[in-house]
Every structure is written in C-alpha cells, then in structure tokens.
Symmetry: C2
Subunit: 207 residues, 2 copies
C-alpha cells in the first residue's frame, strides 16, 4: 500500500495532468507537474515511478498512459456510491457540490434524524431516517460514508454505518472516532486550511 | 518563506504536539510526532529544524518551547479577523464551526446578495449586502476572506474583496480565480479528500 502522503500527491498530480491534457498536451514532464504544484521534479518522478511508469528522456510521460495508470491505482475508473450522514448546512453543501459527481462519487443515501428533514428531497435524493441506518447502507451496498453530524452524534452513526458495511469514512465532526480494524477514517479540519493563510499573512507582516 | 508543503506539515505537527501537551507530556521526540502522522522521524526533524529549534539527544524537544516556536512562525499568536463571502449552506457551516474560533479565526463580516438573507443574523453576526463590499472589508481592516459563493460569482467578489485590502483568500468555489501580485489564494476541493478514500477502497479490493 502506498503511503498516505504519496497518495495525496498522486491525486493532485492527476488533476494537473488532466488539465494539461484538456489543453491539448500529449506529453508531460516531471518539471511541468512540479512547477504547477511547487514541488521538486525529483519528488514527482519518485512518486510516478511507484506506479511503475517511466518517462522518456527529454520527452516526459505519455499523458494518456499516465492518466490511465493514475486513475487505475487511485480507483477512479469506477463510480463510487456514497452515503451522506447529517443533512445539515455542511451536508447539503456537499450533496450539491459538482466536484464529487465529476470524480465519480455518487450520493445514493442521505440520512438525518430531524423529522423536518426526513422525507424531503435534496438534489433529487430523499432524506431517510437514521433509524435502521446499518440496514439502509447494507441494502445499497455502500462502502463510503461522509459524516456531517454534530460531534456528539458522530460515534453512534459511525458505529451503525460500519455495522452496515461502510469501509471508508470522511469525517467532518470535530471529534476523534473509533473504527474497527479494516475500516479507514479520514478527518477533515478546514481550520488547518485557514492556518496556512495565517502563516502567509504573518510572514508578510514580518518581512 | 518556508515552502507550502513544509508549512502544511508544521501545522499538523503543531496539532499533534498540543494534544500531547494536553495529555501532560513535557517532552516530545521526532519519533512521537512521526508515528502519529505516518511520517518519518527524519522528515519531522528536518521540518522542525527550519524553525531553528534543536532537540536534546535521547530526550527530544521541550514541548512548551516547540509550541511557542510553531505558534509564532505560523502566526497563531494573534487573532485573525475573517470575512465570509457567501452565506449559503457551506458558508453557514463554516461560520458555526468551533474549529475556526479555537484557532483564533474570528468572523467579523458576513456578505451575501440574497435579500432574504441580508439583515438576518448568523451566530450573532449580521449578514450584510455585497454592495460596497470593498469598503466594508476595508473599514474593518480584514485581511482574510473565505469565498463560498457560486462559481459564477467568485471572481467578482474576490476583485471587490482584494480592492478592500484582503490579502489572503480561502476559495471553495470550483473555479480558477485571478488575484494580483501580493495576494495569496488557497483552493479547497473536498473531492480530493474523497479520492483518498477511493484509493484505499480500491487497494483493498485488489489485495
Ligand atoms: N471539519 C470541518 O472543517 C468542519 C467545518 C464545518 C462544520 N463541521 C462540522 O460538521 C458538522 C455539521 O455541521 P453543520 O454546520 O452542517 O451542522 P448542522 O447542525 O447544520 O447539521 C447537522 C445535521 O445533522 C443532523 N443530525 C444530528 N444528529 C444526528 C443523528 N444522530 N443522525 C443523523 N443525523 C443527525 C441534524 O439534524 C442536522 O441536519 C458539525 O459537527 C460541525 O462541527 C466541520
Ligand atoms: N470546494 C469544495 O470542496 C466545495 C464543497 C461544497 C461546495 N463548494 C462550493 O461552495 C460554494 C457554496 O456552496 P453552497 O452549497 O453553500 O451554495 P449555496 O447556494 O447554498 O450558497 C451560495 C451563497 O452565495 C450567495 N451569493 C451568490 N452570489 C453572490 C454574490 N455575488 N455576492 C455575495 N453572495 C452571493 C447566495 O445568495 C448564497 O447564499 C459553491 O460554489 C459550491 O460549488 C465547494
């Protein structure tokens, strides 16, 4: 299994390379990719070699083949069904976000426990009750869940989701979540993004 | 200026170290930090040395001093005023998110152009019209803005924000934005987070 940092880099290389392909490019060098992302060409080459792909001296990588390798390793050749648990502000923003569908993530189940929301439709999908969450996830064979409930509700809904077969979770609730062996949970904290801006602002002030 | 990847790592080291301090630890080694984040101790040491801080052989780093260095370099010793532009689902989720306030990011201005929202309060802050956005930002001396408007509105609101003195932007709108020299813009695409889950799921399937 590739390490987390390498996977994160391959994911963004994939984006850059697809943009270049959309601009009509047929070949891309490690320098092209590195420059677009403030990385070093050697880092890029090392990461791409972990796909088993080598570039041609002086020419670079064949864009079509490289994208095939990346999509194949990153699991982007398949569509992925996603369950969204917590149809509040954040949940609704994510359901409506075209970026997910564009990358093959299709929301197949929306869960909430607010009677005002249950039964309503969001982007054409009906909001269902968190009652029997495990069964609902299992019946639709969903493996990925996005957790956008309040902190105090998070562990319980994750337990039910995992009981129903969820293997991969993207958690937004600001709380540490226990998951059993064989289940992967990824945390998002957008405050981390803001801290990058604080650094940049602070650096400017002092220089 | 430290490179982007180093800053991103220092930001998460800071989190890990603060957690350890909260657990009563006085010293931390590069191995402790590395283990918590699936990084190598040498990577951690290299990053921390860019702060000018050295560890004690066999003991590690003094946690209090290391946190001081990190907070100082990362600009986290000051509070930062933030303008939120686009008080829709995503904007509202961010305004209400305790993670921002905890790290010192205080929302001082909320902007929207929907007459139904203008004048209403979110987390005690009044939503103001996007009319005269530049002046509103300038009057409050805000340097950081979060952009959560639809793609088609993004460039225009960024232009006004920058005209009003915004220097750092966190952009969620799925569109490339032009900013002049001296202004920093950071993009968030949560689909990138989802792609990490796709990799993990795909890896499991094939192995
Ligand atoms: N990680 C980040 O960067 C970040 C940013 C913003 C918000 N958040 C977090 O995301 C979560 C959602 O934020 P929000 O602004 O959308 O909140 P919200 O209150 O608008 O939405 C929460 C939703 O979860 C539902 N819910 C509550 N308990 C439930 C349960 N047991 N089962 C199913 N649904 C349940 C509520 O009915 C509501 O619709 C919060 O935990 C918030 O702290 C995280
Ligand atoms: N980057 C990501 O991962 C990600 C995830 C979710 C949503 N998004 C994006 O974030 C944005 C907001 O999403 P949302 O679900 O909250 O949408 P939304 O429609 O709920 O909110 C948009 C808000 O912007 C306001 N607005 C529109 N034009 C404006 C203008 N000119 N000036 C000021 N305000 C204006 C609207 O009145 C509305 O309140 C969208 O661009 C969406 O694609 C990005």
């Amino acid at each position: 299994m590739l390490n987390k940092a390498t996977v994160e880099r391959l994911i963004i290389y994939n984006r850059v390379i697809k943009e270049l392909k959309a601009q009509g490019e047929k070949w891309v060098t490690s320098t092209d990719i590195a420059r677009a992302l403030s990385k070093t060409p050697s880092q890029v080459r090392r990461d791409i070699s972990s796909l088993g792909r080598k570039g041609k001296r002086g020419v670079g990588y064949n864009i079509k083949k490289l994208i095939n390798d990346l999509d194949s390793v990153l699991g982007l050749n398949d569509e992925h069904c996603v369950a969204l648990i917590g149809a509040g502000n954040l949940g609704r923003a994510l359901i409506g976000y075209p970026g997910f569908k564009r990358e093959g993530f299709i929301c197949r189940l929306i869960i909430d426990n607010d009677p005002e929301k249950i039964g309503s439709k969001i982007s054409g999908i009906k909001v269902e009750s968190s009652e029997g969450l495990a069964k609902k996830v299992a019946r639709k064979k969903i493996a990925i869940a996005v957790i956008t409930v309040p902190a105090e509700a998070a562990q319980k809904v994750v337990d039910s989701a995992v009981a129903g077969g969820i293997k991969e979770l993207l958690n937004f609730a600001p709380v540490k979540i226990y998951v059993p062996e064989g289940v992967n949970i990824r945390y998002v904290d957008l405050a981390l993004e803001m801290e990058n801006l604080a650094y940049s602002l602070n650096y400017r002030k002092k220089n």
